[in-house]
């Protein structure tokens, strides 16, 4: 038993959470905002809210291969700019997207 298994079994954390295939079996094709996995963790509790778990694992949904190593720094600088732009400009989504499309 490795350290991870030990940790997970010790704290009753369900191993399938780490298993992408099983996870997608559970949540694909419908991503359900209402699903909450709750597992006791020692004296505390871990709650896993799952609006987007398929997005974490399913490379068809969010294809990160577009972000090559050489472009990662620029990409996340630009992502920060976009995030900042949306936070500063409380326009509706379509207007913001239109502006961004013009920009890019």
């Amino acid at each position: 038993m490795d350290a991870t298994d030990d940790f997970l079994s010790k704290h009753c954390y369900h191993l399938s959470i780490l298993n992408a295939a099983k996870l997608l079996d559970i949540f694909n094709p419908v991503v359900n905002d209402g699903i909450i996995i709750a597992e006791k963790l020692g004296k505390g509790k871990i709650l896993k809210n799952t609006p987007s778990y398929a997005l974490y694992y399913n490379s068809n949904l969010v294809d990160l291969s577009i972000i090559s190593d050489s472009v990662a720094a620029s990409f996340f600088d630009t992502l920060h700019f976009i995030q900042y732009y949306f936070q500063k400009n409380e326009e509706d989504l379509s207007t913001c997207l239109s502006r961004l499309t013009d920009f890019f």
Partner: protein, 167 residues
């Protein structure tokens, strides 16, 4: 923003065109949820979480993403971007951020989580911050923190050596 070369900017723009194509694909699958997904992915940082999570997994780390920890003896919940069980008695909490600074409030939260995981679960906890290169000077001034930039996440030896330096 840092200064980008023309070539870098061109690549970033290309990447964003593809990102929006990707969002449009999501829109086709989850029709009425596009605005919510966009908000989550871009505004609330889910895209950064997904990127960082997948890179850490590619470095052969077992990563528990996006979790909320509640403790009986704490008055509030703690939301973590990720938790990495690293040895039998140690975990690493990960914070992903696009921000260019690290606030005192954020540092305080790191310490609170480290202490509460030690006190409540008996596990040592260290903190890894993943962010843009401009954050490094803020992290390097704190001896208890380590940082990986988004570019470094693709460098498996660098990821592993940084993790090992926390142990």
């Amino acid at each position: 923003m840092r200064n980008c070369s023309v070539e870098e900017l061109k690549k970033a723009k290309e990447a964003f065109k593809l990102l929006f194509s990707c969002l449009a694909k999501l829109d086709n699958i989850y029709t009425e949820r596009f605005d919510l997904l966009f908000r989550e992915l871009i505004m609330e940082g889910l895209f950064v979480e997904i990127y960082s999570f997948r890179k850490l997994v590619e470095a052969d780390l077992n990563v528990i993403p996006n979790l909320k920890i509640k403790f009986k003896n704490a008055n509030k919940d703690y939301e973590l971007d990720a938790l990495i069980p690293i040895t039998k008695d140690m975990v690493i909490q990960c914070e992903y951020t696009l921000r260019g600074t690290l606030t005192n409030e954020k540092r305080k939260k790191f310490r609170e989580v480290e202490n509460i995981i030690l006190n409540e679960m008996g596990l040592r906890c260290k903190t890894l911050v993943i962010g843009r290169e401009c954050l490094r000077s803020f992290v390097s001034s704190d001896a208890d923190l380590k940082m990986l930039s988004f570019s470094e996440l693709s460098n498996k030896p660098k990821v592993i050596s940084t993790i090992l330096s926390l142990i």
